[in-house]
């Protein structure tokens, strides 16, 4: 059968039964609209979650935390809990791993305060921090006010009494000599030498997550200024915070006389910074942990951030990391993203149910059409149409309807997405990571939607088409 002829017959058939066909096509279109709307929604949520909240190609590897191990380390008084350089090397060699970033948590308490010059009033927070090797973020930071590095070798260490005694950029810091705080419980405060020397501020990194959290929750609530990366780069002194090591809002940890102030300065935003805290060059954290927590082994890391070659590799990497005897720290964002996926799947199921019902509707409509066109089918057989010809006429007709329904459904989805966006943007208050649009219509979504529409319509029309093809021509012509 010629394609021209087939197309002509089919298009005239559609034209003839336009009303009943368009009614059943609307069902498919509605299902497809839901389908593509949900896909676009899930796609966009994934963009936000994976792109901004947490890069899902990254996981955090921690030591296997068994109670036995913890017990052993407490009995033998040995702080061996953590990951060694060898462990880091083992993880680095796992196939699919492209980058490993050892992290060391601040293992004693500290308090930070400041920010008055920047946001208008003093912020006081418990300091949550960790340290990472500075060379691993160096490329990422564009022109920071201070290099992200251990700056102590570069500072003048001049004995001072006030900040003004120091070189530009330095401040006057209190220091202690003698044994670490943890071994000084009963020591005479006066026997510990104490002096002041000029030092450079400790460079600190902020996570994008924290910045966003500050901008959407914290700053509006307190009437503070909104921050952005540009501002972080431009402001220098304003971004210096005082940090009191050994202090805590929950009660001091170190003897008050051994607590000391130092200054940190935010120099930028980094993906490698910890989500809810600040990140320093690891050398500082190592030394402070020795000083205040008495950590014996400075080469043990609390965790290792592992980046896989791609998102698809991550589950493989996780499996191998676990096999190598380490554990994975589950992250909120990971849970968020899997929750989004579950919701997305549920919504897709709803869409599929709608499309399936619409498919049955198509079946019904086409059965009616076959009945209606019985004599015509008989005639087609009499003038030389094969069974396959008859079947193809109906299937092609269904395909056309599916195509129309798919396009209609996509249009419907797009229009509804605009309506939803306007509603959500005007009616729903600002929340962290609230995007400009909640839908991301990727080309693959459009292709899938149209494909599904055509597929479901053809599948729906299949039984009627077969029935038409099998009609006994003699009966059909009566």
């Amino acid at each position: 059968m010629t394609l021209v002829g087939l197309t002509r017959v089919v298009s005239q058939n559609i034209w003839r039964n336009a009303t009943s066909l368009s009614i059943s096509a609307v069902g498919i279109a509605a299902g497809i609209a839901l389908f593509s709307l949900f896909l676009a929604l899930v796609e966009q949520v994934r963009n936000v979650v994976e792109g901004d909240i947490v890069p899902i190609d990254e996981v955090e590897v921690v030591p296997l935390s068994s109670d036995l191990q913890r017990m052993a380390s407490s009995i033998f008084g040995e702080d061996s809990f953590g990951l060694s350089d060898d462990d880091v090397e083992t993880i680095r060699r796992i196939p699919g791993v492209v980058e490993v970033l050892p992290r060391m948590n601040l293992s004693f308490s500290a308090v930070s305060f400041g920010g008055k010059a920047l946001v208008g009033s003093e912020i006081r927070v418990e300091l949550i921090a960790d340290g990472i090797p500075p060379e691993q973020v160096r490329d990422e930071l564009a022109d920071p006010a201070l290099p992200f590095d251990d700056l102590r070798p570069r500072q003048s260490n001049r004995i001072c009494r006030f900040d003004t005694d120091c070189l530009w950029g330095e401040y006057c810091e209190i220091r202690y000599g003698g044994p670490p705080v943890s071994q000084l419980a009963d020591a005479d405060p006066l026997s510990v030498p104490r002096f002041r020397a000029c030092a450079l501020p400790v460079p600190a990194l902020l996570s994008r997550y924290l910045l966003e959290f500050y901008n959407t929750i914290f700053a509006p609530g307190h009437g503070y200024v909104q921050l952005n990366e540009g501002l972080l780069r431009a402001a220098e002194k304003e971004l210096q915070f005082n940090t009191r090591l050994g202090d805590s809002f929950m009660g001091p940890e170190a003897p008050r006389w051994r607590q000391r102030n130092l200054r940190m300065q935010f120099i930028g935003v980094s993906e490698k910074s910890m989500d809810l805290g600040v990140t320093f060059p690891i050398q500082y954290v190592r030394d402070w942990n020795r000083e205040y927590a008495g950590a014996k082994d400075g080469a043990r890391y609390s965790s290792v951030s592992v980046r896989a070659a791609s998102k698809e590799d991550i589950s493989d990497v996780i499996r191998q990391v676990r096999a190598a005897g380490f554990d994975i720290k589950s992250r909120i964002a990971e849970q968020v993203s899997s929750m989004v996926e579950v919701i997305g799947i549920i919504l897709l199921l709803i869409a599929l149910i709608v499309i399936t019902i619409a498919g049955f509707n198509i079946t019904h409509t086409f059965l009616m059409l076959v009945l209606e066109r019985r004599r015509e089918i008989g005639l087609f057989r009499a003038i030389g149409a094969t069974r396959a010809n008859i079947r193809n006429v109906f299937l092609l007709e269904a395909g056309f309807i599916g195509l129309l329904a798919g396009v209609l459904g996509l249009l419907l989805a797009y229009v509804s997405s605009l309506v939803f966006d306007t509603m959500l943007i005007t009616l729903v208050p600002q929340f962290p990571y609230k995007p400009d649009t909640f839908f991301d219509f990727q080309p693959w979504i459009a292709a899938t939607a149209i494909g599904f529409a055509v597929l479901f319509t053809i599948v729906g029309a299949f039984v009627p088409a077969l029935r038409a093809a099998r009609l006994d021509p003699v009966r059909a012509l009566q």
Partner: protein, 252 residues
């Protein structure tokens, strides 16, 4: 080799317990180019016989060969091909598609035969002219008379140049004058194109215009050949118009 070879053809309808014997071991042959009418009372199996000859019904006993091919043995594809190339059907109720124009109706068999549309268009125009409804080309069948509809249907049956026309009471829905004109058209096609024509009719007078008559009676067939000299006379009696002008007008 005859165009139609029927030997001991037996046809029985079985519907559950209901058994209806229609044809009982009938045999006949029809050569290419013959004009033959099939007569018999209502319910005698004329339509059944035509359906068997056209391969629309392939449940029979005995032997039935069209152009040398045993119908029962052909696949759906082969039989469709045979119908497409060799057989043209004409029905009492025309079976024109009301949503297509007359010309498109005529072109329809071409689509299923997988042949070029342009050729179909040219042939449709020629044939519509030949059957005398050229001016209705772009009109839908709803708006033309019964006689014109049957002419369009004839053009449709002829477009793939069949060897055999199977006509089931083609004049049954037409008034006598129009019917006579249609019959005259068949004679003309038989004479000019050499196409074999089998016309079913229950009208005895109509059947007498044919040189050969197959009479269905009591599940048997009686084969009679009419004396050609009586033909013109009968034709004149069958239609109320003089033989000289019959079929020339076209419009029914």
């Amino acid at each position: 080799m005859a165009l139609i070879e029927v030997e001991k053809l037996t046809k029985t309808y079985r519907l559950g317990n209901l058994v209806t014997p229609v044809l009982d071991e009938v045999s006949f042959r029809i050569e290419e180019g013959e004009f033959c009418s099939i007569v018999g009372p209502s319910g005698s199996g004329k339509t059944t016989l035509l359906n068997l000859l056209g391969g629309l019904d392939r449940e029979y006993e005995g032997s039935l060969r069209i152009a040398g091919q045993e119908m029962r043995r052909l696949s759906d594809r082969q039989i469709s091909l045979l119908r497409s190339r060799t057989i043209g059907f004409i029905f009492q109720s025309f079976h024109l598609l009301e949503h297509l124009t007359c010309q498109e109706n005529v072109m329809l068999p071409f689509f299923f035969a997988g042949r070029p549309t342009e050729e179909a268009r040219q042939r449709a125009v020629t044939l519509l002219e030949k059957v005398g409804v050229a001016e209705k080309r772009r009109v839908r069948p709803t708006y033309i008379s019964g006689g014109q509809k049957q002419r369009v249907a004839i053009a449709r049956a002829l477009i793939l140049q069949p060897k055999l026309l199977l006509c089931d009471e083609p004049t049954g829905n037409l008034d006598r004058e129009t019917g006579a004109q249609i019959v005259e058209l068949f004679r003309e096609l038989n004479r000019d194109l050499g196409v074999t024509v089998l016309v079913v009719t229950h009208d005895e007078r109509m059947s007498r215009t044919a040189p050969r008559v197959l009479r269905l009676w009591d599940r048997k067939i009686e084969d009679t050949r009419t004396d050609p000299s009586r033909l013109v006379e009968d034709l004149a009696r069958a239609s109320s118009v003089p033989p000289a002008t019959a079929g020339a007008g076209g419009a029914g």
